[in-house]
Protein backbone atom coordinates (compact mmCIF):
# COMPACT_ATOMS: atom_id res chain seq x y z
CA UNK A 1 0.00 0.00 0.00
CA UNK A 2 1.23 3.47 -0.87
CA UNK A 3 0.07 6.92 0.14
CA UNK A 4 1.11 9.86 -2.05
CA UNK A 5 2.13 13.26 -0.74
CA UNK A 6 -0.99 15.35 -0.13
CA UNK A 7 -3.26 12.34 -0.39
CA UNK A 8 -6.04 11.68 2.13
CA UNK A 9 -6.70 8.00 2.63
CA UNK A 10 -9.56 6.80 4.78
CA UNK A 11 -9.42 3.31 6.23
CA UNK A 12 -12.69 1.64 7.12
CA UNK A 13 -13.40 -1.83 8.37
CA UNK A 14 -14.86 -3.82 11.27
CA UNK A 15 -13.26 -3.57 14.70
CA UNK A 16 -10.34 -5.91 15.15
CA UNK A 17 -9.51 -5.75 11.46
CA UNK A 18 -6.10 -4.19 12.12
CA UNK A 19 -6.76 -0.54 11.26
CA UNK A 20 -5.35 0.84 14.50
CA UNK A 21 -2.44 -1.58 14.41
CA UNK A 22 -1.55 -0.32 10.95
CA UNK A 23 -1.47 3.28 12.18
CA UNK A 24 0.53 2.29 15.27
CA UNK A 25 3.08 0.60 13.00
CA UNK A 26 3.35 3.63 10.72
CA UNK A 27 4.11 5.97 13.63
CA UNK A 28 6.67 3.59 15.11
CA UNK A 29 4.82 2.51 18.26
CA UNK A 30 4.73 -1.18 17.24
CA UNK A 31 7.56 -3.48 16.23
CA UNK A 32 6.99 -4.99 12.81
CA UNK A 33 6.92 -8.80 12.54
CA UNK A 34 7.83 -8.53 8.88
CA UNK A 35 7.79 -6.04 6.05
CA UNK A 36 8.95 -2.43 6.01
CA UNK A 37 7.33 0.97 6.13
CA UNK A 38 8.85 4.07 4.57
CA UNK A 39 7.77 7.61 5.31
CA UNK A 40 9.29 10.39 3.20
CA UNK A 41 12.06 8.01 2.17
CA UNK A 42 12.90 7.08 5.76
CA UNK A 43 12.43 3.57 7.05
CA UNK A 44 10.21 3.52 10.13
CA UNK A 45 12.02 1.85 13.03
CA UNK A 46 10.68 3.54 16.15
CA UNK A 47 9.23 6.82 17.39
CA UNK A 48 12.65 8.17 18.35
CA UNK A 49 14.09 8.13 14.82
CA UNK A 50 10.90 9.63 13.37
CA UNK A 51 11.18 12.66 15.69
CA UNK A 52 7.59 13.68 15.13
CA UNK A 53 7.71 13.29 11.35
CA UNK A 54 4.56 11.19 11.64
CA UNK A 55 1.85 12.83 13.75
CA UNK A 56 -0.62 10.60 15.56
CA UNK A 57 -3.91 11.50 17.19
CA UNK A 58 -5.66 8.86 19.27
CA UNK A 59 -9.30 8.09 19.94
CA UNK A 60 -8.99 8.72 23.67
CA UNK A 61 -8.30 12.27 24.69
CA UNK A 62 -4.60 12.22 25.45
CA UNK A 63 -3.74 15.85 25.89
CA UNK A 64 -1.32 16.30 28.81
CA UNK A 65 -3.53 17.36 31.74
CA UNK A 66 -0.74 18.93 33.83
CA UNK A 67 0.25 21.45 31.17
CA UNK A 68 -1.49 24.47 29.69
CA UNK A 69 -2.70 24.26 26.10
CA UNK A 70 0.27 26.36 25.00
CA UNK A 71 2.74 24.07 26.80
CA UNK A 72 1.06 20.98 25.35
CA UNK A 73 1.69 22.26 21.84
CA UNK A 74 5.15 23.78 22.35
CA UNK A 75 6.49 20.73 24.25
CA UNK A 76 7.60 18.79 21.15
CA UNK A 77 9.44 21.69 19.45
CA UNK A 78 11.17 22.55 22.71
CA UNK A 79 12.25 19.08 23.84
CA UNK A 80 12.80 17.35 20.52
CA UNK A 81 13.79 20.15 18.17
CA UNK A 82 15.49 22.10 20.99
CA UNK A 83 13.87 25.34 19.86
CA UNK A 84 14.11 28.25 22.29
CA UNK A 85 10.94 28.89 24.29
CA UNK A 86 9.93 31.97 22.31
CA UNK A 87 10.20 30.22 18.95
CA UNK A 88 8.31 27.15 20.18
CA UNK A 89 5.54 29.34 21.56
CA UNK A 90 5.32 31.30 18.34
CA UNK A 91 4.73 28.03 16.49
CA UNK A 92 2.15 27.04 19.10
CA UNK A 93 0.34 30.36 18.80
CA UNK A 94 0.12 30.04 15.02
CA UNK A 95 -1.33 26.56 15.40
CA UNK A 96 -3.82 27.73 18.03
CA UNK A 97 -5.05 30.18 15.42
CA UNK A 98 -5.39 27.33 12.91
CA UNK A 99 -7.37 25.12 15.30
CA UNK A 100 -9.39 28.13 16.43
CA UNK A 101 -8.43 27.99 20.13
CA UNK A 102 -6.48 31.23 20.46
CA UNK A 103 -8.38 32.31 23.57
CA UNK A 104 -7.66 28.98 25.31
CA UNK A 105 -3.85 29.14 25.24
CA UNK A 106 -3.60 29.48 29.03
CA UNK A 107 -6.35 26.95 29.77
CA UNK A 108 -5.69 23.42 30.99
CA UNK A 109 -7.11 20.43 29.10
CA UNK A 110 -9.46 19.66 31.98
CA UNK A 111 -11.19 22.98 31.34
CA UNK A 112 -11.84 22.17 27.67
CA UNK A 113 -14.52 20.15 25.89
CA UNK A 114 -13.60 16.86 24.24
CA UNK A 115 -13.66 18.45 20.81
CA UNK A 116 -11.36 21.25 21.92
CA UNK A 117 -8.98 18.75 23.47
CA UNK A 118 -8.78 16.77 20.23
CA UNK A 119 -8.00 20.00 18.39
CA UNK A 120 -5.20 20.65 20.88
CA UNK A 121 -3.92 17.11 20.26
CA UNK A 122 -3.94 17.77 16.51
CA UNK A 123 -2.09 21.07 16.96
CA UNK A 124 0.42 19.33 19.24
CA UNK A 125 1.28 16.84 16.48
CA UNK A 126 1.34 19.58 13.82
CA UNK A 127 3.87 21.54 15.89
CA UNK A 128 6.48 18.94 14.95
CA UNK A 129 5.96 19.73 11.26
CA UNK A 130 4.87 16.21 10.32
CA UNK A 131 5.02 14.86 6.77
CA UNK A 132 2.12 12.55 7.52
CA UNK A 133 -0.77 12.76 9.99
CA UNK A 134 -2.50 9.68 11.36
CA UNK A 135 -5.96 9.88 12.89
CA UNK A 136 -7.26 6.86 14.78
CA UNK A 137 -11.03 7.26 15.19
CA UNK A 138 -10.44 10.58 16.84
CA UNK A 139 -14.11 11.57 16.94
CA UNK A 140 -15.43 8.29 18.38
CA UNK A 141 -15.12 9.41 22.01
CA UNK A 142 -16.78 12.77 21.37
CA UNK A 143 -20.34 13.92 21.85
CA UNK A 144 -22.19 14.09 18.57
CA UNK A 145 -22.36 17.90 18.46
CA UNK A 146 -18.59 18.23 18.89
CA UNK A 147 -17.69 15.82 16.12
CA UNK A 148 -18.25 18.27 13.29
CA UNK A 149 -15.75 20.86 14.61
CA UNK A 150 -13.01 18.26 14.60
CA UNK A 151 -13.98 16.91 11.17
CA UNK A 152 -14.02 20.43 9.72
CA UNK A 153 -10.52 20.99 11.06
CA UNK A 154 -9.36 17.74 9.44
CA UNK A 155 -10.99 18.85 6.18
CA UNK A 156 -9.13 22.16 6.41
CA UNK A 157 -5.84 20.29 6.92
CA UNK A 158 -6.59 18.10 3.92
CA UNK A 159 -7.30 21.16 1.80
CA UNK A 160 -3.97 22.65 2.85
CA UNK A 161 -2.30 19.60 1.34
CA UNK A 162 -1.49 17.53 4.46
CA UNK A 163 -0.93 13.84 3.78
CA UNK A 164 -3.38 11.97 5.98
CA UNK A 165 -4.18 8.41 6.91
CA UNK A 166 -7.52 8.39 8.67
CA UNK A 167 -9.36 5.60 10.44
CA UNK A 168 -12.93 6.74 10.90
CA UNK A 169 -16.54 5.66 10.92
CA UNK A 170 -17.60 9.15 9.83
CA UNK A 171 -18.80 8.44 6.34
CA UNK A 172 -19.38 12.13 5.71
CA UNK A 173 -15.64 12.67 6.01
CA UNK A 174 -14.82 9.63 3.90
CA UNK A 175 -17.23 10.65 1.19
CA UNK A 176 -16.36 14.35 1.08
CA UNK A 177 -12.67 14.61 1.95
CA UNK A 178 -10.94 11.32 1.17
CA UNK A 179 -9.20 10.79 -2.14
CA UNK A 180 -9.19 7.09 -1.58
CA UNK A 181 -11.03 4.69 0.73
CA UNK A 182 -9.47 1.43 1.83
CA UNK A 183 -11.61 -1.36 3.26
CA UNK A 184 -9.78 -3.51 5.79
CA UNK A 185 -10.82 -6.89 7.13
CA UNK A 186 -8.87 -9.50 9.11
CA UNK A 187 -5.65 -7.57 8.73
CA UNK A 188 -5.82 -7.35 4.94
CA UNK A 189 -6.90 -4.83 2.36
CA UNK A 190 -10.09 -6.22 0.88
CA UNK A 191 -10.82 -3.41 -1.51
CA UNK A 192 -9.75 0.14 -2.25
CA UNK A 193 -10.79 2.94 -4.55
CA UNK A 194 -12.25 6.42 -4.76
CA UNK A 195 -14.97 7.00 -2.12
CA UNK A 196 -17.76 7.23 -4.71
CA UNK A 197 -16.87 3.82 -6.07
CA UNK A 198 -16.40 2.10 -2.72
CA UNK A 199 -19.65 3.43 -1.29
CA UNK A 200 -21.94 3.16 -4.30
CA UNK A 201 -20.64 0.11 -6.11
CA UNK A 202 -18.31 -2.00 -3.98
CA UNK A 203 -16.97 -5.05 -5.83
CA UNK A 204 -16.51 -7.28 -2.79
CA UNK A 205 -19.40 -8.78 -0.87
CA UNK A 206 -17.72 -8.12 2.51
CA UNK A 207 -17.32 -4.45 1.66
CA UNK A 208 -20.97 -4.25 0.66
CA UNK A 209 -22.25 -5.78 3.85
CA UNK A 210 -19.96 -3.62 6.03
CA UNK A 211 -21.06 -0.41 4.34
CA UNK A 212 -24.65 -1.51 4.74
CA UNK A 213 -24.04 -1.97 8.48
CA UNK A 214 -22.64 1.49 9.07
CA UNK A 215 -25.72 2.92 7.36
CA UNK A 216 -25.88 5.56 4.69
CA UNK A 217 -27.92 8.34 6.35
CA UNK A 218 -24.81 9.71 8.10
CA UNK A 219 -23.40 10.57 4.69
CA UNK A 220 -25.66 13.59 4.64
CA UNK A 221 -23.54 16.55 5.68
CA UNK A 222 -24.64 17.23 9.26
CA UNK A 223 -23.50 20.85 9.02
CA UNK A 224 -26.23 21.50 6.43
CA UNK A 225 -28.82 20.88 9.09
CA UNK A 226 -27.55 23.68 11.31
Amino acid sequence: MEVCTGEVVVIIGPSGSGKSTLLRCVCGLEKLDKGTIYVDGQRVANTLTLRGKVGMVFQDLHTFPHMSVLDNISLGPRLVKKFPKAKAERIANELLELVDLKDKRKAYPGELSGGQRQRVAIARSLAMGPKLMLFDEITSALDRELVMDVLQLMKKLAEEGMTMLVVTHELWFAANVAHRVVFFDEGRIVEEGPPGEIFSSPREKRTRSFIGEISMPTMINPSEGR
Binding site: F58, A107, A121
Partner: protein, 220 residues
Protein backbone atom coordinates in the same frame (compact mmCIF):
# COMPACT_ATOMS: atom_id res chain seq x y z
CA UNK B 1 -9.85 11.02 91.48
CA UNK B 2 -6.34 11.42 90.14
CA UNK B 3 -4.88 14.91 90.36
CA UNK B 4 -2.53 15.86 87.51
CA UNK B 5 0.59 17.69 88.50
CA UNK B 6 1.83 19.15 85.26
CA UNK B 7 4.66 20.84 87.04
CA UNK B 8 6.53 17.53 87.25
CA UNK B 9 7.21 17.78 83.50
CA UNK B 10 9.15 21.01 83.70
CA UNK B 11 12.56 19.68 84.78
CA UNK B 12 12.51 17.21 81.88
CA UNK B 13 11.78 19.56 78.98
CA UNK B 14 15.38 19.41 77.73
CA UNK B 15 15.30 15.60 77.85
CA UNK B 16 12.00 15.54 75.95
CA UNK B 17 13.46 17.86 73.33
CA UNK B 18 16.40 15.51 72.78
CA UNK B 19 13.97 12.58 72.50
CA UNK B 20 11.89 14.48 69.98
CA UNK B 21 15.02 15.30 68.04
CA UNK B 22 15.83 11.58 67.84
CA UNK B 23 12.25 10.83 66.77
CA UNK B 24 12.62 13.29 63.90
CA UNK B 25 16.06 11.98 63.01
CA UNK B 26 14.91 8.35 62.85
CA UNK B 27 11.61 9.09 61.10
CA UNK B 28 13.06 11.41 58.45
CA UNK B 29 16.01 9.17 57.59
CA UNK B 30 13.79 6.07 57.57
CA UNK B 31 11.20 7.85 55.42
CA UNK B 32 13.84 8.97 52.88
CA UNK B 33 15.26 5.45 52.81
CA UNK B 34 11.80 3.98 52.29
CA UNK B 35 11.10 6.49 49.50
CA UNK B 36 14.24 5.40 47.65
CA UNK B 37 13.53 1.69 48.17
CA UNK B 38 9.85 2.17 47.33
CA UNK B 39 10.54 4.09 44.11
CA UNK B 40 12.98 1.46 42.85
CA UNK B 41 10.76 -1.47 43.87
CA UNK B 42 7.67 0.31 42.50
CA UNK B 43 9.21 0.91 39.07
CA UNK B 44 10.56 -2.66 39.15
CA UNK B 45 7.05 -3.93 39.86
CA UNK B 46 5.90 -2.45 36.52
CA UNK B 47 8.83 -4.12 34.70
CA UNK B 48 8.25 -6.57 31.87
CA UNK B 49 11.48 -8.39 32.80
CA UNK B 50 10.27 -11.46 34.75
CA UNK B 51 13.32 -11.63 37.04
CA UNK B 52 13.14 -7.96 38.06
CA UNK B 53 9.38 -8.26 38.51
CA UNK B 54 9.71 -11.40 40.67
CA UNK B 55 12.37 -9.91 42.97
CA UNK B 56 10.34 -6.78 43.47
CA UNK B 57 7.12 -8.73 44.19
CA UNK B 58 8.92 -11.06 46.62
CA UNK B 59 10.29 -8.09 48.57
CA UNK B 60 6.93 -6.29 48.64
CA UNK B 61 4.96 -9.36 49.73
CA UNK B 62 7.50 -10.41 52.39
CA UNK B 63 7.88 -7.04 54.07
CA UNK B 64 4.19 -6.27 53.98
CA UNK B 65 3.48 -9.59 55.67
CA UNK B 66 5.97 -9.21 58.55
CA UNK B 67 4.78 -7.06 61.47
CA UNK B 68 6.99 -4.02 61.95
CA UNK B 69 7.95 -4.91 65.52
CA UNK B 70 8.91 -8.45 64.52
CA UNK B 71 10.97 -7.08 61.62
CA UNK B 72 12.82 -4.65 63.89
CA UNK B 73 13.69 -7.31 66.46
CA UNK B 74 14.71 -9.75 63.76
CA UNK B 75 17.00 -7.30 61.98
CA UNK B 76 18.65 -6.19 65.22
CA UNK B 77 19.13 -9.58 66.88
CA UNK B 78 18.52 -12.14 64.14
CA UNK B 79 20.69 -10.84 61.32
CA UNK B 80 23.83 -10.77 63.42
CA UNK B 81 23.29 -14.38 64.52
CA UNK B 82 22.69 -15.60 60.96
CA UNK B 83 25.27 -13.52 59.09
CA UNK B 84 27.62 -12.16 61.71
CA UNK B 85 26.89 -8.60 60.56
CA UNK B 86 26.15 -6.48 63.60
CA UNK B 87 23.98 -3.41 63.23
CA UNK B 88 23.85 -0.56 65.70
CA UNK B 89 20.39 -0.04 67.14
CA UNK B 90 20.06 3.10 65.02
CA UNK B 91 20.93 1.32 61.76
CA UNK B 92 18.67 -1.60 62.59
CA UNK B 93 15.85 0.83 63.34
CA UNK B 94 16.29 2.67 60.05
CA UNK B 95 16.50 -0.62 58.11
CA UNK B 96 13.44 -2.10 59.82
CA UNK B 97 11.27 0.97 59.40
CA UNK B 98 12.61 1.77 55.93
CA UNK B 99 12.21 -1.71 54.45
CA UNK B 100 8.74 -2.11 55.94
CA UNK B 101 7.56 1.27 54.66
CA UNK B 102 9.42 0.79 51.38
CA UNK B 103 7.29 -2.25 50.61
CA UNK B 104 4.15 -0.23 51.23
CA UNK B 105 5.41 2.77 49.23
CA UNK B 106 6.43 0.49 46.34
CA UNK B 107 2.74 -0.32 45.93
CA UNK B 108 1.90 3.38 46.08
CA UNK B 109 4.46 4.20 43.37
CA UNK B 110 3.40 1.26 41.23
CA UNK B 111 -0.27 2.22 41.44
CA UNK B 112 0.56 5.86 40.72
CA UNK B 113 2.60 5.02 37.63
CA UNK B 114 0.03 2.56 36.34
CA UNK B 115 -2.80 5.05 36.86
CA UNK B 116 -1.43 7.20 34.04
CA UNK B 117 -3.06 6.00 30.80
CA UNK B 118 -0.68 4.36 28.33
CA UNK B 119 -1.86 6.79 25.66
CA UNK B 120 -0.20 9.65 27.55
CA UNK B 121 3.21 8.06 27.09
CA UNK B 122 2.42 6.97 23.54
CA UNK B 123 1.30 10.45 22.50
CA UNK B 124 4.53 11.88 23.86
CA UNK B 125 6.58 9.17 22.13
CA UNK B 126 5.04 9.99 18.74
CA UNK B 127 6.19 13.59 19.20
CA UNK B 128 9.72 12.19 19.30
CA UNK B 129 10.38 12.43 23.04
CA UNK B 130 12.82 9.90 24.52
CA UNK B 131 11.61 7.36 27.10
CA UNK B 132 13.43 9.27 29.83
CA UNK B 133 11.71 12.52 28.79
CA UNK B 134 8.35 10.76 28.74
CA UNK B 135 8.95 9.51 32.29
CA UNK B 136 10.19 12.82 33.71
CA UNK B 137 7.96 15.24 31.77
CA UNK B 138 4.72 13.34 31.28
CA UNK B 139 4.29 10.30 33.52
CA UNK B 140 6.02 11.26 36.80
CA UNK B 141 4.54 14.79 37.07
CA UNK B 142 1.07 13.28 36.80
CA UNK B 143 1.87 10.31 39.03
CA UNK B 144 3.33 12.56 41.75
CA UNK B 145 -0.02 14.27 42.17
CA UNK B 146 -1.61 10.90 42.82
CA UNK B 147 1.24 9.75 45.07
CA UNK B 148 1.70 12.83 47.30
CA UNK B 149 -1.28 12.22 49.62
CA UNK B 150 -0.37 8.59 50.49
CA UNK B 151 3.30 9.63 50.81
CA UNK B 152 2.37 12.31 53.31
CA UNK B 153 0.18 9.90 55.21
CA UNK B 154 3.03 7.40 55.30
CA UNK B 155 5.18 9.98 57.06
CA UNK B 156 2.46 10.58 59.65
CA UNK B 157 2.42 6.83 60.32
CA UNK B 158 6.21 6.76 60.35
CA UNK B 159 6.34 9.44 63.06
CA UNK B 160 4.10 7.30 65.24
CA UNK B 161 5.71 3.96 64.40
CA UNK B 162 9.07 5.39 65.47
CA UNK B 163 7.96 4.66 69.04
CA UNK B 164 8.59 0.99 68.20
CA UNK B 165 12.35 1.47 67.86
CA UNK B 166 12.35 2.15 71.60
CA UNK B 167 12.52 -1.64 72.02
CA UNK B 168 15.98 -1.51 70.42
CA UNK B 169 17.04 1.00 73.06
CA UNK B 170 16.95 4.07 70.81
CA UNK B 171 16.16 7.07 73.02
CA UNK B 172 13.39 8.62 71.00
CA UNK B 173 10.49 10.48 72.57
CA UNK B 174 8.63 7.48 73.96
CA UNK B 175 11.75 5.78 75.31
CA UNK B 176 12.73 9.05 76.98
CA UNK B 177 9.29 9.11 78.58
CA UNK B 178 9.70 5.57 79.90
CA UNK B 179 13.03 6.48 81.48
CA UNK B 180 11.56 9.57 83.14
CA UNK B 181 8.61 7.54 84.47
CA UNK B 182 11.07 5.12 86.05
CA UNK B 183 12.57 8.07 87.90
CA UNK B 184 9.60 10.14 89.04
CA UNK B 185 6.70 7.65 88.95
CA UNK B 186 4.34 10.08 87.16
CA UNK B 187 3.25 7.94 84.17
CA UNK B 188 -0.06 9.77 83.60
CA UNK B 189 1.50 13.17 83.16
CA UNK B 190 4.40 11.87 81.08
CA UNK B 191 2.41 9.67 78.69
CA UNK B 192 -0.39 12.22 78.34
CA UNK B 193 2.19 14.81 77.43
CA UNK B 194 3.78 12.49 74.85
CA UNK B 195 0.37 11.71 73.38
CA UNK B 196 -0.33 15.44 73.06
CA UNK B 197 3.00 16.05 71.34
CA UNK B 198 2.14 13.36 68.76
CA UNK B 199 -1.35 14.81 68.35
CA UNK B 200 0.02 18.26 67.58
CA UNK B 201 2.70 16.89 65.23
CA UNK B 202 0.43 14.65 63.19
CA UNK B 203 -2.45 17.11 62.92
CA UNK B 204 -0.07 19.90 61.99
CA UNK B 205 1.63 17.79 59.35
CA UNK B 206 -1.66 16.58 57.88
CA UNK B 207 -2.92 20.16 57.61
CA UNK B 208 0.25 21.22 55.83
CA UNK B 209 -0.18 18.30 53.46
CA UNK B 210 -3.73 19.38 52.52
CA UNK B 211 -2.38 22.80 51.56
CA UNK B 212 0.32 21.22 49.36
CA UNK B 213 -2.28 19.00 47.70
CA UNK B 214 -4.49 21.96 46.75
CA UNK B 215 -1.47 23.86 45.46
CA UNK B 216 -0.36 21.14 43.06
CA UNK B 217 -3.84 20.01 41.96
CA UNK B 218 -4.36 19.97 38.19
CA UNK B 219 -6.83 22.61 37.03
CA UNK B 220 -10.12 21.08 35.97
Amino acid sequence: MYTFHWGVLLPYMGTFARGLEMTFKVSIIAELFSLAVGLVAGIAATSKNPAIFAISRAYIEAFRAIPLLVGLIWIYYGVSIVTGIEFTAFTAGILGLGLNYGAYLAEVFRAGLQAIPKGQAESALTLGLTRAQVLTRIVLPQAVRIIIPPLGNSYVSMLKDCTLVSVLGITELFRVGQTIVANNFRPFEIYTFIALVYLVLTIGFSRGLRIVETRIAIKQ
